[in-house]
Structure formats: structure tokens, C-alpha cells
Amino acid sequence: MTSPSITNDRPSVNQTLPLSTLNEENNNQPVSTDEVETNDLLYEKLVREFKIDPYVADTQDLTINNPLSQDDKSIWKQYFLDKELKATINQDVRRTCPEISFFHNPRVSDTLLQILFAHSRSHHNTPYRQGMHEILAAIVYNLHLEGTKVNECKNANAIFEKIMDHLKQWYDIKDNNVTKKRNSVQNEAKQPFQKAQDLSPQSNEIVLRVNQIFEQLKNYDRFLHCKLQELDIDPHIYGIRWLRLLFGREIPFECIPIVWTVIFCFDEHFKFVDYFFVALLMELGNLFLVSKRDYSSCLQLLMQHNVISNAEHVLRRALAIAGRQLKPASEEPQSNTKRAETSRMNIEQDQASSRKEYIKQQQQTVPKQKTTNQVVEPKRLLTPTSTTTTGFSQENAHNSRPLARNSSSNTSFAQQLSTKINTNLSNSSLSSELDTWPERSVRQQLEDSRTIQKYCAYFMDKFLDQLQTRICELTSPNEDELLISLSGLKQICNVLSGKLTFDSEALQTLVNYKPKTVKQSAPSLNNYSSEQNSN
């Protein structure tokens, strides 16, 4: 099989995607045999119900039941619609994960088709949409890896249904009725640079969610938030795929079970999706900073398949974000960041008006931050003794250190997580996992320092640009000296932003610069100007 390498120790879908965690009314009960049987029966019932054979139809009223009839009750009409639906689904199923030979098997394609068809027929409001097939594919593939041959179809269907219960809102394209609304927005549409969400008050569910998540980024990496806004990259451009496929294309295929497991176990609202989304953005944000990227290269990165090779790191960060939100008391380092931001804001207000928008956002942040904390998740997650939440087991919370330690590979992480989740799911609390994370506060401080550092570099850069412009306008006899000093500052700025390695000798040379030795220092000057060009 040409599939990605997956060890036998990976978490099992059947166990790690426990149906109970996906069931809102019954989220503290383990899956009972009865429930599995009910699911089996349900699926069989669906298959029977939607299997239409007009040739053996009971009713013989030929005025209604004939192939040319357009009557809604005509069994033929439904038959043709079904055929069309199947053709549509099949077209997508055939293109599912082409690099994995498992999906080339006609039996597998047929399973996918049957389940998707039954789902589409039984959910009139959220019929089949592209992307659903990849969710199902991940489920079926993992069931297959576990060797679940018997009832594969039914199990896959049950898990798929549960997941789709949560995802269906993101597949909803209700405002798609172009014809009806066309005239009403005709004028606005001709102002092309309007934000999509400004065009119509009733925005699409997924766009709203993606925008909300993006706003949360402000609380964790304001610099990145600001940068993406400056670039004018609408979060829905990449975010729709991230959500609809539950990050299935962004992370390696073999990491899907781990990430999904945490999403399903975290809470019943898929709140972890938000944290993972933000964490993923931050991960990619680091790449933006490595080389100064423009609009297209940033966007290409955001939309690149398998952009993340190490999902563990993102997962870890997402958990840290979640932990931070779950326990507002330990926010001291963050408040440092906030102070830095506030003072920076004061300085910033003196600056050019082009930054007005940015300042406005900053001013709004403090109250928003509070709201976020209030909104934050059910209290029961904060109570270590809670028995209502599925998540990591209490027992394993004491063994949570390995999670915080740098494990060398995805596999070992998978093993750890797998052990955690495969034990008792019902008596657990995620927060206990996070609270006992020993390096957490240190990690937080480190992250905050990094953030502050990035802010400093960013604004230093702006100030330097301004200074440089002014200096260039001057006709001072010591202009070179000024430029050399600027060059030094610029180097420090680049060190702070992580673009340059710290080189004390180079800086010392610049400090030692004397106007008499202009020629000797010329290389530094050249270096400086080439840097400017590259920026």
C-alpha cells in the first residue's frame, strides 16, 4: 500500500472517535452495544429506504409512475434524481486521496458512495457537498487500518453521521440563492473591494465562524493578525477548507486521528477547532516572518496542502491556547504583553494616519479580551472532579508530563495520546491535564517574550524607516555617520525579528565607525542598502 506510514500504535478511530463524545445529549456515556446495534439498524433502514427500483414498484398507476412523468410522486422522478446525485458523488469519490491506493479499490469507492448517498438523501437541508467525501474517507481509512472488516460500512456511517451533525453548519450554503438576491445587491457588487460580509447582513455560517476565530488571533498574536489584515487576506479564503475538512488537508493524513480525537474529546461544540485554527495560523505566521512575504506568497502558504509536517507542535500550541483560556488566573505574563501593547499604542498615536485603523483595533481589544474570557467554555471543564466531560482521563492527568516534554516524533505522541484516550473516557477532565502541565507557565512566558520581541522589531523597523527618510532629506555633513548608526539599529531590528543571527562583531564594527574611515565601512553601508532593497 502506498499509504503514509502509520504505526499500529496510532489511536484507533473506533475508540478515539467515540460516538459518545459526539453525542450532545449523552456525552458521558460510553458507547453501548445497543447503540451500535441501533446504528446498524438505522443504516440498513436508510439503505433499504433509498434503494429505488422503479421496475418493481408496487404502485401500478402508470399516469404517475412512468419514466416521463414530472409528478413529484412519481417513483421514476426520484429514481432519476438519485441517479444524478450518485453520479455527482461518484465523481468526487473517484478523486478521493488519489495518492493512497486503498481508495482505488472499487469496493471502497462503493462504500463511500453508498454512505454519502444515504446521508444526502436523509438530510434534505444539508445534502452532499464536496468535502464531505474526504471526512468520510479519513474515517473509512482508519477503520480499515484497524482491521474492522465486519460492519465497516455501518460503523463508518455511524461515525460519519455524528461528525456531520457538527460539521453540517459549515457545509450550509443557504445564502447561495444567487437568482433571488442578485438584483438587490447588484449595485454593491460593483464595488468590488467591499468585504464579502459587508454585502449582506446574513452572512454564511462558516464565514462568520472563520471571521470570529480570526478575531481571536488578536489575543494571541496581534502582530500576525495585523499583518494578515494589512495584506488584506480574508480569513475565509483559506479558513473554509480548514473547517470543512477539519484540517484534513493542512496536516499529514496520518495525523488526522490525533487531531480529530482532541477536537471531539475537548467539548461538544468543537471549540477546539478554534484553538487549532489559531495555533495553525501562528505556526504559519512564523514562516511569514522568516522571509518577508508578500500577499501571494502568504496566501499560497496558507492554502498549501500538507503545509504542516508536524501536527504535534500545532496541537501542543492549541492546547496551550485552550489552557490559557480555561484558566484566566494564570495570565500574568500575558498582561505584560498587554502593557507593552498599551505603551506602544501611545507612541503609535503620534504616527502617521495610515495606522489609524490598527490603533482602533487595539483600543477595542481590552474589553474584547474580557468578553472572550467570559464566553469561555463551560465551567465544568474547570472542575477537576467533573464527571460530565469527556476528555483526558483523570488517571492520566498525573502522567501528563510526557505531553509537555519534547517528544521526538509524531508516533510517540500518538502513543501517548492513544493511551490517554483509550482508557476511561467518562471520568475525566481536560483542564486537569492542562493544570498539571508543569512547563506551562514557563512556556507562556517564553511565548510572551517572543511576542514582545516581535512587536519591538516591527515598530523599530517602522521608526527606522521614518528616520531614514528624514535623514536622506537632510544635507548634513555627517550623513554617513548617521546612516551607519541606522544600519546598526537595522541589524538589531533584524536580530529581534529573527531574520538575522546576532553578530556582536559586526555591531561592534559599526559602533567603532569614525567619519574619517568612511571607505573602510563602505561594505556595511552597502549591506544596509541592499537590505533596504530586499525589504
Binding site: Q130, D175, N176, R182, A196, N204, D232, D234
Partner: protein, 208 residues
């Protein structure tokens, strides 16, 4: 319900993503992952000695799109490639309604090129070249038959569209200083360049 189902079966697999990949990466990938939402590609080209950066949006077929997103992808596009598959007549039959939508939602000056893709599969041709030409003439579009597989006319399709847009800038139809037209002038270095920037919509649009 009938209409919706019918619509949905149209407009897929005409080769939008393959065309983009061929243009930006010069390679053909016969089985391409399904586009969810949009994909994005960029390439620098040179027209009349001017460097132009094309930013190209590869959209999902319109039926999979919500209304607001549809508008959002169209906004600010300077040009669009309307693609049908010469081996699937229904993709051609659906052009009229696609074109109507495109014209309603986009800048009225948007350059639209009609593409009959998969011209390497001449044995399975269902739409004659003359039909494509006639449709283009009737609706004021530029027309070309391409093959993302053999790369035939792929460069030309994108570059001609860009050239047409560039022409409109020269004529003053598009104001490059106004970003709402999907065009942005790049930084004026020694080598001035024009960044063509269909902000969120298609330089390349999808059929249906």
C-alpha cells in the same frame, strides 16, 4: 430540487485546477484533489517589457459556493477565464447562466476569456470549435481551446487575458491606481512593474 440537482452535476472536472497548475508550475497532474473553496496561484509574466504579476484564483464550481462568497470571489477581478470541457456538452450548455452571473457580480470591464479545455481528447469531442467561437463572438469574449495535459495554448490563454487587461489599462478603462479594478501598481523600483491583482475573484473563474 430537480433544478438544483441538475445544476450540481454540471461544471465539475472541466480542468480548472489543472490549467492553473500547468500555467504556474508547468506540470500536469491527471488526478487532482478536489477544490474546496478556492485555490490560488501566482506567476510573473512580461508584457511589453513590463513585469506583471498575475494572481489567479481557482474557484470551486459556483454551485458549491454560497452567495456571499460568490460575490467575494468576483470582487476586484480584472479578468476571468470561463472554462468548459469540449468532451462534455453539458458544461458548454451551462455557459450562458454562468456568464450572466459573472457579468452581474463583477466589474463591467472585466475581461472574460472563454476556454474550451481538454482539446487533446479530440476523439471524444462533443463541442465543436466553431460552437465555442460563435458563443464567444455573440457575447464579446475572447476564445481559445486549450489542453492542460499537453499545455497547448495554456500560456497563451493566461497571457492573452493579461494582455487584454493591460490594454485596458493603457486605454484608461482600468485605473491602475484604483485597487477596486483588481490592479495594483507595484513599488516603483528601477524596473517598474504592474501588479495585477484580482483581489479575491478570478483572474480565472470556473465554469458553473
Amino acid at each position: 430540487m430537480l433544478e438544483k440537482a441538475t445544476d450540481r452535476s454540471y461544471g465539475m472536472c472541466v480542468g480548472k485546477s489543472c490549467l492553473l497548475l500547468q500555467f504556474t508550475d508547468k506540470r500536469f497532474q491527471p488526478v487532482h484533489d478536489l477544490t474546496i473553496g478556492v485555490e490560488f496561484g501566482a506567476r510573473m509574466i512580461t508584457i511589453d517589457g513590463k513585469q506583471i504579476k498575475l494572481q489567479i484564483w481557482d474557484t470551486v464550481n459556483i454551485i458549491e459556493m454560497s452567495f456571499n462568497l460568490c460575490i467575494s470571489y468576483y470582487r476586484g477581478a480584472a479578468g476571468a477565464l470561463l472554462v468548459y470541457d469540449i468532451t462534455q456538452r453539458h458544461t458548454f450548455n451551462h455557459l450562458t447562466s454562468w456568464l450572466e452571473d459573472a457579468r452581474q457580480h463583477s466589474n463591467s470591464n472585466m475581461v472574460i476569456m472563454l476556454i474550451g479545455n481538454k482539446c487533446d481528447l479530440f476523439a471524444r469531442r462533443e463541442v465543436q470549435k466553431e460552437e465555442g467561437e460563435a458563443f464567444a463572438r455573440e457575447h464579446g469574449l475572447i476564445f481559445m481551446e486549450t489542453s492542460a495535459k499537453t499545455a497547448a495554448n495554456v500560456e497563451e490563454a493566461f497571457i492573452n487575458t493579461a494582455r487584454e487587461i493591460y490594454g485596458k489599462i493603457q486605454e484608461g478603462v482600468f485605473d491602475p491606481t484604483n485597487e477596486v479594478n483588481g490592479i495594483k501598481i507595484g513599488p516603483q523600483h528601477a524596473n517598474p512593474r504592474t501588479g495585477e491583482r484580482p483581489s479575491s475573484s478570478a483572474e480565472k473563474g470556473g465554469c458553473c
